[in-house]
């Protein structure tokens, strides 16, 4: 092998090894030890839950529409505070192709029903009895809201309470 060739192959070998090692380090930093954590841009996993009235709801039923997916519990004060605004904007955006689907964290039907009547909520409320969807979406604090666009991709994940103006701008952002 000529010297120039030898030098070139050495450079390639070293570059490849260093690149692989750098990739391994970056991978270890980026990857979480969690099973799978959803991120913005991922496809929102489909699910099927039953609401208080016994109707089945699938996320994929809303294909082609924006979905405002809200996780909540009756005991959580910020969840309660944002409900009236969500209801109001649900009505305003329903015909513009943005749907609200709210997922209660496994509480009793009576509790959810009472809550719905108290706040006069008209959007569908499904109950995650086995906490399956909670695992699937890796929900930590309540409320958590996923904004899902018409292609079923996650646009934004909100883990705080939302104001009325924020809700409006979020709904506009996923309007098809």
């Amino acid at each position: 092998m000529s010297k120039a060739k030898k030098k070139q192959s050495r450079l390639i070998f070293r570059s490849v090894v260093l690149l692989l090692l750098a990739a391994a380090i970056i991978f270890s930093i980026v990857s979480k030890d969690k099973v799978k954590v959803l991120a913005v841009g991922d496809k929102a996993p489909d699910f099927e839950l039953v609401d208080i009235d016994g109707n089945k709801h699938r996320l994929s039923d809303y294909k082609g529409k924006g979905v405002f997916l809200n996780f909540w519990g009756t005991w959580c004060p910020p969840c309660k505070r944002e409900m009236p605004d969500m209801e109001e904007q649900y009505k305003a955006f329903k015909d513009k192709g943005v749907h609200v689907l709210s997922v209660n964290s496994g509480e009793s039907n009576l509790k959810v029903e009472t809550f719905r009547d108290q706040y006069g909520l008209s959007f569908p409320i499904v109950i995650d009895k086995t906490k399956d969807i909670r695992e699937l979406y890796n929900i930590q604090p309540l409320p958590t809201t996923f904004l899902i666009d018409k292609d079923g991709r996650i646009q934004k994940i909100i883990i705080t309470e939302m104001t009325r103006d924020e809700i409006i701008s979020y709904m506009e952002s996923i309007q098809p």
């Binding site: 380090i25 699910f47 005991w75 009472t114």
Partner: protein
């Protein structure tokens, strides 16, 4: 372009060579001037020491340095030690937002610093991972850079070495011999007998033993790299799961970390040793501490969701019934579910009765399932109780409304609407534990009768596909350690010098005592000239003592 260093013997050596690969002549000024040469890596050129350097070569050289490697190890050790000073995030029972307060409150200023510098979640921090990654990089590059030239120079080494090489060995002797040829033949014979690998060439002998011990460190490093690779795999979904779950008796819930699978807890139980059955073994201990647990057990049913169904649908197949006890986990598809913890006696249901306050006349009892309360409870004589408000974990009244601080029935409270034949419009009453509030004086009241409780099991879900990789890494690591520590690479050179002279030199990577012992045997048998060990402190001290 790498520069070539030509030796007098005609061999072309790579740049950075210390001793000629072929004849062993010293090639650097330093080596020429020293009495005893450094035989580490056989005086070969470390591959990184190339003549002209690009940026890639510079990075490569950085990691190739043993000094850098040792510095990284020290840094890893130091930071790992610091990480054990205060509890890590995982063991701190507060939420992320309150973390700083927690460290500040418990450990003062140092705690704050500890938090701010990221030591509170150190083993997951990016800089710790980079440090470990750099350690791995250093191990790989430093090994590659040394093992290849070492292998080559050991393979290329000539039997006959130049006198200057012999002279610079730690164990060296020169002396006249009556019959050099006979001495060489005898030495070769004796060395063979001593299980040396003997080569002869033109009045020279090279006897070698245990060369493979020189690969020990590199085998060991390979093991380490496999180990680190296994750890890295844990980041890939599906390779490693370590989750916990709390499950109540009667509850059916999805298993964290094991999608598609659901667990139902049928019963949790604790058994204690009784005095009768355990008297012989534990009798004294039982007298001392009172009770000793015999068994913790959770009876469960494992379900799997039917195929092609969406998450959330509850159409599932029963997989198996199992009783999880300590060290006997429920196993399925690579997962193991262990019994880890428990909590006893959480409220499950409460039984109440409706009574007329004045007479104490009862309309019957009703039971509220605290997980799934009903809206209406029909009682005798046309009476009924409507549950119009339920607060599982009652925590006072806010803005005129009772609030529950969690969905867990730690402190249940109810608002009842009591409808009786003589009060058909109903009377409202707020009932909490040891507390009843009425807007107006009521005729009827809901009274507490009894409560049912249930237990909660704390389970851990584990899956580790990397375990065998880690085991393999550890095994190879250990083989490398044994290889490098229990065997030594010994070499003995004997060759004819000028006239009737014989030269003797020997080298080993460790355990010089045994080398000299073996050399003594050969010397006595073949009548070789005597040698001296120029680094032997003991003999130097002795000599000085004699003087």
């Amino acid at each position: 372009m790498s520069k070539i260093v030509k030796c007098q013997c005609g061999h072309d050596n790579p740049f950075g060579i210390v001793l000629c690969e072929r004849c062993g002549r010293p090639m650097t000024e330093e080596a020429k001037n020293s009495d005893v040469v450094d035989m580490r890596y056989e005086g070969s050129a470390r591959r990184s020491q190339t003549y002209k350097r690009s940026i890639i070569d510079k990075i490569w050289n950085f990691f190739s340095s043993v000094k850098i490697g040792v510095s990284i190890i020290v840094a890893v050790l130091a930071t790992s030690a610091i990480g054990t000073l205060f509890p890590q995030k995982f063991y701190v029972p507060v939420r992320e937002e309150d973390m700083l307060d927690y460290y500040e409150r418990l450990y003062g200023f140092i705690g704050t610093l500890y938090y701010k510098l990221g030591f509170y979640d150190m083993y997951n921090s990016w800089w710790f991972k980079i440090l470990i990654g750099m350690l791995g990089t250093s191990i790989i590059i430093a090994s590659v850079d040394r093992v290849i030239p070492l292998y080559k120079s050991l393979k290329k080494q000539r039997t006959k070495r130049h006198t200057s090489f012999m002279k610079r060995q730690r164990v060296y002797g020169l002396g006249p011999s009556e019959n050099p040829d006979l001495a060489l033949t005898n030495a070769a014979e004796k060395l063979k007998e001593m299980k040396y690998n003997v080569k002869t060439e033109d009045g020279a002998i090279l006897a070698e033993k245990g060369r493979f011990s020189r690969w020990g460190p590199y085998v060991n490093h390979t093991g380490l790299i496999i180990f680190l690779f296994g750890i890295l795999l844990r980041g890939i979904p599906g390779f490693y799961v370590d989750e916990t779950m709390w499950i109540r008796e009667g509850e059916l819930r999805s298993i964290p970390g094991a999608p598609e699978f659901y667990l139902k807890s049928k019963d949790f139980s604790i058994e204690y040793y009784t005095k009768e059955e355990a008297d012989e073994v534990f009798g004294a201990a039982l007298d001392r501490v009172g009770t000793i647990v015999k068994n913790y057990q959770t009876d469960v049913t494992l379900y799997k969701k039917k195929e092609n169904l969406l998450p959330g649908s509850t159409d599932m197949d029963l997989v198996k019934d199992y009783s999880i006890i300590v060290n006997k986990p429920l196993k399925f598809e690579g997962y193991s579910i262990f019994q880890m913890d428990y909590r006893l006696n959480e409220l499950k249901s409460m039984t109440m009765q409706l009574v007329e306050k004045k007479t104490g006349k009862s309309f019957g009892e009703f039971t509220i399932d605290l997980d799934d309360p009903k809206g209406v409870y029909e009682l005798n004589d046309g009476a009924q109780v409507n549950l119009i408000g339920y607060y599982a974990d009652y925590a006072g009244v806010e803005n005129g409304e009772p609030v529950s601080k969690s969905p867990i029935p730690n402190n249940p409270a109810f608002i009842f609407d009591m409808k009786t034949p003589d009060k058909p419009k109903g009377e409202k009453s707020f009932v909490a534990i040891r507390q009843t509030l009425e807007t107006e004086e009521n005729v009827y009241a809901v009274k507490f009768v009894s409560a049912d409780t249930r237990d909660i099991s704390g389970l851990t879900i584990r899956k580790d596909k990397t375990l065998y990789i880690l085991l393999l890494g550890g095994l190879i690591f250990m083989i490398g350690v044994c290889q490098g520590s229990f065997w030594n690479h010994r070499r003995i050179w004997v060759q004819k010098g000028e006239g009737e002279e014989l030269l003797v030199a020997a080298h080993t990577n460790k355990n010089w005592f045994t080398l000299k012992k073996e050399l003594d045997e050969v010397k006595d048998f073949a009548k070789l000239p005597s040698y001296e060990d120029r680094r032997d402190n003991e003999s130097i001290e002795q000599e000085e003592g004699e003087k």
